[in-house]
């Protein structure tokens, strides 16, 4: 198989593009697709400081790599979920990448904010692990960006992530979720930071190939709590369709964004206000994160790795915003 661009030996076939690329031209293709997406969707400007959420996985580290290479001022944010060896390995990958690229990395421990690490949150709240984890991550990304004055949070969601989310929302016709699905989530409130997904047109296989070809050391093993997750079943279903008809995932997502999303937006007016406890945005009086932290406190969950001294309240209830600096480690270049 030959590279579409140079005619040399190909290392990756992209059936949906009816193309194959050699290593060098695939890396160029991946970068140009990412930068073109940023430009076309007006995700951020050349001079804006970026907070890139990094997990230690292929997508976020590939994204950080592209942004740094393109000259963006991209600071990493690693949210330590406290999931044993998995979190330790993930954090080590992020720190090594940051050190190797002389990039700045912020580390925030979920346990310091919620009052317990993710494995204990499930036991304390009986809430599905991925649900509590996703809620905590979205909240802490926004909070950290506000505290450090970043105008935008950049995440590594790829085509498969976005298509699977759309698939799940469509199966249940969740109109609110369909209205909110977008590669650019605007700052519709002064305390809500813009969130963007520059990899949303690139598949997981493409981000994995980019990370491999760039020699990025990423965590290959899956989060132990992801096994059996609904989103993985949706991804598998979409990949079966993709195998029979290449381009299905991209078509499903891109035509939704182009033709259908606006119809759901029209029927989903959301009024945001500030949470009575922490000041972050919510549609109610108290935000979902503060309710989660309250549930954890009531259940008496203890933080496993660095719990508060006896008799002290979990950090999640001490005033979440003021606690941020104590919970943030900064790895400066």
């Amino acid at each position: 198989m030959k590279c579409k661009k140079c005619g040399g030996k190909a290392v990756l076939e992209l059936r949906r593009h009816n193309a194959a690329f050699c290593a060098e031209d695939f890396v160029g293709f991946f970068r140009s697709q990412t930068l073109e997406t940023i430009r076309r969707w007006k995700m951020f400007g050349r001079d804006e400081p970026l907070l890139v959420a990094v997990s230690g996985g292929k997508d976020s580290l590939a994204l950080w790599d592209v942004l740094l290479d393109a000259g963006y001022r991209a600071t990493g944010l690693y949210l330590d979920l406290g999931i044993g060896d998995y979190s330790r390995a993930s954090r080590a990958r992020c720190e090594a990448f940051a050190a190797g690229r002389s990039a700045r990395l912020l580390v925030v421990r979920v346990a310091d904010a919620v009052g317990a690490a993710i494995p204990e949150v499930r036991a304390a709240t009986r809430r599905p692990t991925c649900s509590a984890c996703g809620l905590s991550k979205r909240y802490l990304m926004n909070r950290t960006a506000l505290e450090h004055a970043f105008p935008v949070v950049v995440t590594g969601h790829n085509l498969d992530d976005e298509a699977a989310t759309l698939f799940g929302s469509t199966l249940r016709w969740e109109e609110g979720a369909l209205a909110r699905q977008s590669p650019v989530l605007a700052a519709t409130h002064p305390r809500l930071v813009r969130r963007v997904k520059p990899l949303f047109r690139l598949s997981e296989r493409e981000t994995a190939a980019y990370a491999f070809l760039r020699g990025i050391d990423y965590v290959v093993d899956e989060c132990p709590f992801a096994r059996g997750a609904t989103s993985l079943a949706h991804k598998e279903a979409l990949n079966r369709l993709e195998d029979v008809s290449p381009g299905t995932k991209a078509s499903f997502l891109l035509t939704f964004l182009d033709r259908a999303r606006a119809r759901f937006q029209a029927g989903d007016p959301v009024s945001l206000q500030e949470c009575a406890r922490c000041g972050q945005t919510t549609t109610g009086e108290v935000c979902a994160f503060c309710k989660l932290a309250e549930q954890v406190r009531r259940a008496g969950a203890e933080r496993p790795e660095a719990g508060p001294p006896d008799g002290e309240e979990p950090a999640g209830l001490r005033g979440l915003v003021s606690d941020l600096h104590a919970a943030t480690e900064i790895h400066a270049p």
């Binding site: 198989m1 076939e13 997981e204 296989r205 993985l232």
Partner: protein, 68 residues
């Protein structure tokens, strides 16, 4: 050949040589869900894997998101 299935945490031995796409079909692996790696190189579907090769099928699917 020795095939390392990273996502299943196991290795399988297969006799003879075959193309990557035939190998994946035989193992019931969708091409979209893995990278096929031999040493430091990625293999396309038409590449031939030899009897004495070691290849890794590295999963690319990640994530977990609860039903909301």
């Amino acid at each position: 050949m020795r095939v390392i299935l990273r996502n299943q945490g196991k290795e399988v031995e297969m006799a003879g040589r075959r193309r990557v796409r035939e190998l994946l079909a035989e193992l019931g692996v969708l091409p979209e869900t893995v990278l096929v790696i031999r040493g430091r190189e990625l293999l396309t579907g038409d590449e031939v894997v030899r009897e004495d090769d070691v290849v890794e099928l590295r999963p690319v699917i990640s994530g977990g998101r609860a039903t909301r």
